[in-house]
């Protein structure tokens, strides 16, 4: 799993690539928590661009929950551009009811 974070106007866009699984979830979670802190400091929403992710297991999903808890409602966390597999995983886990999911990074606000 690789990770990239960029400022995009009035928001932060995180772009993990590869897989988030039992081997990579700790790195994903560490990056994610740091990104949430950056977003809180900047008072900017955090968009997670999922387009480069092959899939994410429950460990990655639960890392998203920890990130949401870290944000404490101070900034929005939005998921964008999941591939078909990720969209299926978000639906099966009902995480599409916990996080806003949009088709395109540009739609994520």
């Amino acid at each position: 799993m690789d990770w990239r974070l960029r400022n995009d106007g009035d928001r932060l866009v995180a772009s993990p690539t590869g897989r988030v699984d039992e081997d990579s979830w700790k790195a994903f979670s560490t990056h994610l928590t740091a990104a949430v802190r950056d977003a809180v400091a900047a008072k900017a929403p955090l968009v997670i661009d999922l387009s480069g992710l092959e899939y994410m297991t429950s460990k990655g999903l639960r890392a998203l929950t920890m990130a949401k808890n870290e944000a404490r409602g101070q900034v929005a966390i939005r998921l964008a551009a999941p591939n078909e597999t990720m969209r299926r995983i978000l639906s099966i886990s009902r995480y599409d009811m916990l996080f806003p999911v949009v088709d395109d990074v540009d739609q994520a606000g």
Partner: protein
């Protein structure tokens, strides 16, 4: 080894109302499309071949009770939910054919849905029956006695005729029982629960119900994976979706289908049985959860061999 599921529902026994049966019959008749059957056997063959399980069958509504048949000298039973009543009747029949009247119970914990079947366990009323209750909870005897106090039940515990003994085990200390090596592990649940692993040469079954796998405790899951390692069957609490388990249902002590798949994948387990079904779920809801779990397993399998995912129902038998 043979695993028989006598109760698979969580929290509360449930039974279908009349309109549930009517809907299933109506769906089956529509699916039959006017075709004629020579007899009920032929109609049943059609139902199994052409209808989904939620239409021709039912997942059942008895609370947790799972028999593990591994030894001709003793019965082994996980938990005493309302499914225990049916097991007791079956065991009585088998004992009449010569099976020894020795029963080893393995209690996950003492919440009501896991002990409520014991006052209705017929062998407990039989002189000469021997009942050994293995538990990680020092107050297991108090819990069983309490539910047979006069305010709750007409027959006091002391009037049971069987010889009943309690053995309190410490986690991670294995022991021999019912022809198996048994180990237990502490799990996250209100007042704690225990998962059990049953090993015979070349075969292993894990019973892990009422266990919450919280996001903040993911670092500890390597221990769970080690406990599940290479098991032929893992029976796992999958009461909620992960989304529910980390939000509305957090801290209620239950797990999800997707976490169960991931734990089994990492552990190299061969089969997963979805278990402790939410009592408000219809048969169609449980079937949908099973189908979604199959899709999830395929999505995150990667280069691993396929994990077989079963959906436990009252009456299911799994041969290992």
């Amino acid at each position: 080894m043979l695993v028989r599921f006598w109760g698979t529902r969580g929290s509360l026994p449930v039974a279908p109302h009349a309109d549930v049966a009517l809907a299933k019959v109506a769906r089956a008749l529509v699916a039959a499309g006017g075709r004629r059957f020579a007899d009920e056997a032929e109609a049943a063959k059609f139902a199994r071949a052409e209808l989904d399980f939620a239409t021709y069958g039912a997942f059942g509504g008895a609370t947790p009770c799972v028999e593990i048949e591994a030894d001709e000298d003793a019965f082994a039973i996980c938990d005493m939910g309302s499914g225990l009543r049916d097991f007791g009747l079956s065991a009585t029949r088998r004992c009449a054919e010569g099976h020894p009247r020795v029963y080893h119970f393995f209690l996950s914990h003492l919440h009501w849905d896991h002990i409520m079947g014991f006052p209705f366990f017929r062998p407990a009323y039989e002189t000469g029956a021997r009942i050994v209750i293995h538990t990680g909870h020092a107050d297991a005897e108090a819990a069983l006695r309490r539910q047979q106090e006069a305010i709750s039940f007409p027959v006091p515990f002391d009037e049971l005729k069987a010889h009943i003994e309690f053995i309190v085990h410490r986690p991670e200390e294995s022991f021999e029982a019912a022809g198996m090596e048994v180990s237990l592990v502490r799990q996250s649940h209100a007042r704690g629960s225990f998962g059990y692993r049953f090993d015979r040469p070349g075969k292993a079954v894990v019973y892990s119900t009422d266990a919450e796998h919280k996001p903040e405790d993911m670092d500890l899951e390597e221990d769970v994976e080690a406990f599940f390692a290479n098991a032929d069957l893992v029976i796992c609490d999958t009461m909620y979706s992960l989304g529910e388990a980390v939000s509305l249902k957090q801290d209620l002590g239950h797990s999800s289908n997707v976490v169960a798949v991931d734990l089994c994948h990492s552990a190299g387990a061969r089969r997963l049985a979805l278990f402790h079904h939410e009592p408000s779920y219809s048969d169609a809801d449980i079937q949908r959860m099973h189908e979604e779990t199959l899709r999830y397993e395929e999505a995150v399998r990667g280069e691993r061999p396929r994990l077989e995912v079963l959906c436990a129902y009252d009456g299911l038998e799994v041969s290992l």
